[in-house]
């Protein structure tokens, strides 16, 4: 319990972004290991062009990133530049820990027209600009080419699938074909043993819902909030049905990898699950392309559209920004770094490496081309972005939702809690956290 005070105290007054001999060291925080190599490479170039600036990358996994960053913010020792996410933006904006970029943009006449307006607009409040777009992402259905072939299916068979809460639709039918037990029986064949499955049709894993049930929710007409910045409404029937469907895929249809395998934070990432042949497909985000590319042999995977639900198609759409900590001791240098990170040159390099879809719209083709050269068609992510999408909920209660979602949905997927109880519990607790 003394830790509470100690940790709060030890941040104060520490000055670790020091400068010596005119060289300033900036700290840059991110959470995705997969994106680090191309970003690091590009930053080395930035350092060459700015001999007075050194950049130190701080990498923390998503599960640790936010508590670490916020503890640093409390202790006034946050990184100078960091990845920011819409789910934390409302709180940060309110606490005044983000630098308003608007005057800097005006002063340096930075052209912001190249950014996808859908991304850029979300970060503006009352004329203030709290970050510039880094990237964007949607969710797709990654598949193993081999698993598809073994089931006698073609990638085209994954197009136009539909699901419904009653019998699962053609989506579940297809997943049955892709689920194989230890005796080689498929889930749609007589004698299939659901207790001894060698390969499941689908793998899902999401700390928040972004890569699993939020997509089904959107396709089922569920709204996570009554309005942006409003209250959570995930206890509505359309949302509960979506949660139920994800549980059904595991426990009723036996076509999805059990939660005892994939449970975050310990479960293996989905590229690993598909790479080992434990699942034929996986719902995951476009930022995972490089990971799947590493886990599977060349030409061993592709990306299909998500199925359509009762109200149609749709995917969660999200984007990150680069933000500057308002308490940075080197605002000038931090702005130089941010300009680089959001420049066409940097984002092109990252897109060419196939890391993430870039924040600058004209570079989307660079990313698609990079993957086409590897034999992977990623245009589905873009098609998804142009269709019906759902952004991350804008709320002050992101901490509560994220922490509770990890705990509570795990229990639903394990069959220890009903979809209805979980939805009510998380809804009540997240709403109670809104001030």
């Amino acid at each position: 319990m003394a830790a509470l005070l100690t940790v709060a105290a030890c941040g104060g007054g520490s000055d670790d972004s020091g400068s010596s001999g005119g060289v300033v060291t900036l700290r840059y925080a991110m959470w995705d290991e997969v994106q680090k190599p191309p970003i690091e490479q590009s930053i080395r170039e930035f350092e060459k062009a700015h001999p007075n600036i050194k950049v130190q990358i701080e990498l923390n996994s998503w599960n640790d990133y936010w508590s670490k960053l916020q503890t640093q913010l409390v202790g006034r020792s946050a990184p100078d530049v960091f990845w920011d996410h819409v789910s934390y933006f409302p709180k940060f904006g309110k606490e005044g820990v983000l630098t308003d970029l608007a005057p800097l943009i005006a002063q340096d006449k930075v052209d912001t027209s190249g950014y996808d307006p859908k991304l850029a607009e979300g970060w503006k409040v009352d004329g203030k600009v709290y970050g510039l777009p880094k990237d964007w992402d949607t969710i797709g259905l990654f598949y193993s080419a081999k698993a598809l072939k073994d089931a006698g299916l073609t990638p085209a068979d994954l197009d136009g699938l539909t699901w419904n809460p009653t019998d699962g639709g053609t989506f579940v039918k297809t997943l049955r074909k892709l689920t194989v037990d230890e005796n080689g029986k498929r889930a749609d064949e007589p004698g299939f043993d659901p207790g001894k499955v060698k390969q499941y049709g689908l793998a899902m894993q999401a700390p928040t819902g972004q890569q699993d049930w939020w997509n089904f929710a959107l396709q089922n007409g569920c709204e996570l909030q009554d309005k942006p910045w409003g209250r959570w409404t995930i206890d509505q029937p359309a949302c509960v049905q979506a949660i139920q469907f994800v549980q059904d895929l595991r426990l009723k249809y036996h076509v999805a990898v059990p939660a005892t395998v994939t449970n975050p934070p310990n479960g293996p990432s989905l590229d690993q699950v598909v790479g080992r042949g434990e699942a034929a497909t996986a719902m995951d985000g476009s930022w995972m392309l490089r990971a799947f590319d590493t886990a599977l042999p060349d030409g061993g995977f592709g990306v299909a559209d998500l199925p359509a639900g009762p109200v149609g198609r749709g995917s969660v759409y999200n984007g990150l920004t680069e933000a500057i900590y308002s308490g940075t001791k080197h605002p000038k240098e931090a702005w130089e770094l941010l300009k680089w990170l959001t420049s066409e040159k940097h984002q092109k390099a990252v897109a060419q490496a196939g890391a993430v879809w870039p924040g600058i719209s004209s570079l989307n083709d660079v990313f698609a081309e990079a993957w086409k050269a590897k034999g992977v068609d990623v245009t589905g992510f873009k098609k998804a972005a142009e269709g019906t999408t759902m952004g991350y909920p804008l709320t002050e209660a992101a901490d509560t939702y994220n922490v509770k979602a990890l705990d509570i949905f795990n229990q639903v997927w394990l069959g220890q809690m009903t979809a209805q109880d979980a939805a009510k519990k998380i809804n009540d607790e997240a709403n109670a956290a809104i001030k």
Binding site: M1, L4, N266, L406
Partner: protein, 314 residues
């Protein structure tokens, strides 16, 4: 000293003597406190003050950034009605029950075995204590690999004898036993060391006398060893129980309280409320509950052992 040969007769002289004795006493006490000061100040500043600080904070609502607002006992009321707080309490007790008996019995058996004059006995002693000296965080990472369902040693060994090992850390039924076993492994050596010291303090003559009286080894264990080991047992039980109630690092590194809250122990819950949800007041209230709980259990252990402990036979 000169004073001491002054005749004792007069009352005045007696008073003067008492005064001097008192002055000497005061000086001695002052010296003692002066020598104690560094550690005393440290104790007050870093142990007593934080406890009062946390107790005070538990009456506030504070997100660490803005200004704290006074809410009285609201945090405690909320705590009493919070099923997740109760779950973390049960998880903690479950962990203690898995950990302490296993660790104590194992350590006792090891201590008895190593108490014989074995060739190379010292090597074993060092080997068993080594885990205790290692960093819990590093151990957590290594054990996570060992328990990895696919590539971990545990399941590979089980596979050799035809057993399909479970997903240790993602299965809620197994996660807590795994955490407990890692801690048993880590602290058994330390416990063994204390018990071994206790065993070696038992006078050998007692065993010889008992042997002449025709007792069996089992009788000697229960009638001599165990009663005379009580001070050491008491010490390890109290300190290990306190430590177990405060388990954190292994949970933090290996499971983050998951899967589905199965390893969400009180100390992790405090961390989560304090540093993930930024509810410093509520976390402090939880910390006070943990403090009270440990106090209670320790007091119970003291009462139990005081009645039955025979001290120092040498």
């Amino acid at each position: 000293m000169i004073d001491d040969i002054v005749p004792l007769a007069s009352a005045q002289g007696r008073r003067r003597r008492t005064d001097r004795r008192f002055a000497r006493h005061v000086r001695a006490t002052a010296e003692a406190y002066a020598l104690l000061a560094p550690s005393l100040i440290g104790f007050l500043l870093f142990l007593v003050a934080p406890i009062f600080g946390v107790a005070g904070l538990s009456l506030f609502d504070w997100n660490l950034m803005g200004a704290p607002s006074f809410v009285g006992l609201d945090n405690y009321r909320e705590l009493a009605a919070d099923p997740d707080a109760w779950r973390s309490l049960f998880n903690t007790v479950y962990y203690v029950l898995l950990n302490i008996p296993a660790q104590t019995v194992l350590a006792l058996l090891l201590a008895l075995a190593l108490n014989r004059r074995l060739r190379g006995g010292r090597v074993f002693r060092v080997a068993f204590v080594l885990p205790w000296m290692a960093m819990p965080v590093a151990l957590g990472i290594v054990w996570s690999w060992i328990f990895d369902p696919r590539h971990g040693v545990v399941n590979q060994v089980l596979g050799m004898v035809g057993i399909d090992g479970p997903n240790w850390l993602t299965d809620p039924a197994w996660a807590m036993p795994v955490i407990a076993s890692v801690n048993v492994w880590q602290y058994t050596g330390y416990t063994m060391l204390i018990l071994l010291a206790g065993l070696q303090a038992i006078p050998h003559q007692l065993y010889e006398a008992a042997a002449i009286d025709g007792t069996t080894p089992v009788q000697r264990f229960f009638m001599i060893t165990l009663p005379l080991l009580r001070p050491s047992l008491f010490f390890v039980l109290v300190t290990n129980t306190i430590g177990s109630f405060q388990v954190f690092d292994t949970v933090f590194v290996m499971t983050q309280g998951g899967p589905g809250g199965a390893t969400d122990v009180l100390n992790f819950h405090i961390y989560q409320q304090g540093f993930q949800l930024f509810r410093a007041g509520f976390a402090s209230a939880l910390a006070m509950v943990l403090f009270g709980l440990i106090l209670l259990v320790t007091a119970a252990q003291f009462l139990y052992f005081r009645k039955r402990t025979v001290y120092d036979f040498s």
